[in-house]
């Protein structure tokens, strides 16, 4: 965590809180975010959850481009930035101002990792996203590649072209490509742990154990939310919401 978690971006004077989860596909971050969401709502918080690449405005274009495998690294990057900006301007920024707890399933760090692995300039990508508020907490779910891959492969016939990083010509075999691509993403994430002040969660632990750590961190790092002293109430059925 940095000294002043709310510096930067337009959430400067916000009363809300921004909590982000990052990690490779299959790291379990979405599950953890969902459990956190449930708990915060049970505590009476106003919560808004948002996902990477989910804005109506660009989703169709992105998926068309992905189907045709037409996207160059910079187009890929800017379409995701457009998606992010749309969700940021329309939802995240105003809701943070309004005092919501905003939960983001992937944030700018996903772009910093993926776009750089695709060969975009790291400096440029950071500049493109420099309007985004720094999260109050960024949970990084650190998972061994084999574990993440085994989770992601369950019940899935095959991996999609861009998901496997096939556009990078790493390997003609989708699974090989996926493994190499994900390993490179992990390298980028690892570099960001210190620089961007990630809170690292060991994603090989039990789901419940991870969630307890996540909730404890939220209680400790965001006393302003009035979630309690951290000694109790970490379960969904815990003490009533305060205030």
């Amino acid at each position: 965590m940095t000294g002043d978690p709310r510096r930067g971006g337009s959430a400067d004077s916000s009363r809300g809180a921004l909590i982000v989860v990052e990690g490779v596909d299959g790291s379990g971050k979405s599950t953890q975010l969902r459990l956190l969401d449930k708990w915060l709502r049970a505590k009476g918080m106003s919560v808004y959850a948002t996902e990477w690449n989910s804005s109506d405005v660009v989703r169709e274009i992105t998926s068309r481009g992905k189907k045709k495998a037409l996207l160059t690294p910079t187009t890929f990057s800017l379409l995701h930035a457009t998606d992010f900006a749309d969700r940021y301007e329309r939802d995240m920024a105003p809701l943070l101002r309004a005092g919501y707890v905003v939960l983001a399933d992937r944030y700018v760090y996903t772009a910093f990792a993926r776009d750089v692995v695709r060969g975009c300039s790291a400096r440029w990508v950071r500049k493109v996203y420099d309007f985004a508020a720094k999260p109050d907490i960024t949970f990084y779910f650190q998972a061994p590649i084999d574990l993440a891959m085994s989770r992601i492969m369950v019940g899935r016939p095959k991996i999609k072209y861009y998901e496997a990083g096939m556009d990078l010509n790493l390997s003609n075999d989708a699974l090989d490509s996926y493994r190499i691509y994900q390993s490179r993403i992990v390298e980028e994430y690892e570099r960001m742990i210190r620089r961007d002040g990630f809170s690292v969660v060991d994603a090989s632990k039990d789901i419940e154990e991870q969630q307890m750590l996540v909730r404890r961190k939220v209680v400790d790092a965001l006393p302003g939310l009035g979630l309690g002293d951290g000694g109790a109430g970490l379960g969904a059925e815990g003490p009533e919401a305060r205030r």
Partner: protein, 237 residues
């Protein structure tokens, strides 16, 4: 007036460019004409293309919102719901880079003269005119190749208003800056917005070496100015 086939030279960029392409060697030239809607820009581009082709040059023309993948999507999205300022800038940037990599750079590599009916400068000016930070607005377009020659057609906003109204019979929402809430009266909004745009173009003229062309004059006069400067440039290379 065929020019000598010039030696391939490395393409230069305003910022970090497109690092994954490595060094890009080009033989062609990139010529840009900027100017607001109603400045006669597209008419000029068409007549210059015709003239250059009759002189024996291979020419490709390009513009904004023309990428196959994204261009139509922007139009649809704008119709459906108002887009945020940053969203708009990034959307246009995505459209532009799609054309840049699939059309402009390949054409430059093959030795074409690429004549761009607007380039990143319009996008940067719009972004700044909407109140986004100047640095950010420029930085986003750091992937763009440096132009060999760029013009902007400077038309007085009051003159522009009449041309736009005569041509289209109404005012475009965004081109009038109506999304900025500058004035209840669309005429005042249009003038204020176009003044902002003109100010940004003037600032960029010195920064990027753009040539100002007085666009208040007749189509023929403007064309003569543009054509003579382009001919002069092509002779010099």
């Amino acid at each position: 007036m065929l020019t000598r086939s010039s030696e391939p030279r490395p393409l230069e960029f305003y910022g970090d460019g497109l690092p994954y392409l490595g060094e890009v060697m080009v033989k062609g030239r990139l010529i840009v004409i900027e100017g607001p809607d109603g400045s006669g820009r597209s008419t000029q581009v068409q007549s210059i293309v015709t003239r250059l082709e009759s002189d024996g040059h291979a020419v490709v023309d390009t513009g904004l919102k023309r990428s196959e993948l994204i261009g139509q999507g922007i139009l649809e999205a704008k119709q459906r719901l108002p887009l945020g300022k940053r969203t708009l800038t990034l959307f246009y940037a995505a459209d532009f880079v799609d054309q840049l990599e699939h059309k402009i750079i390949p054409a430059l590599q093959a030795g074409y003269i690429v004549l761009a009916d607007r380039y990143i400068f319009t996008l940067i000016a719009r972004s700044i005119a909407r109140g986004l930070p100047r640095n950010w607005s420029h930085n986003v377009f750091g992937f763009a190749p440096k132009v060999d020659l760029a013009f902007y057609l400077d038309v007085k906003p009051s003159v522009l208003f009449h041309r736009v109204f005569q041509k289209y019979g109404n005012l475009d929402y965004y081109e009038s800056g109506a999304d900025l809430g500058l004035s209840d009266n669309l005429y005042d909004s249009f003038i204020a917005y176009q003044n902002r745009m003109a100010k940004e173009f003037a600032a960029m003229a010195s920064q990027y070496g753009m040539v100002r062309v007085d666009g208040d004059r007749s189509i023929g006069d403007v064309n003569a100015s543009l054509q003579s400067k382009i001919d002069e440039y092509l002779k010099s290379i």
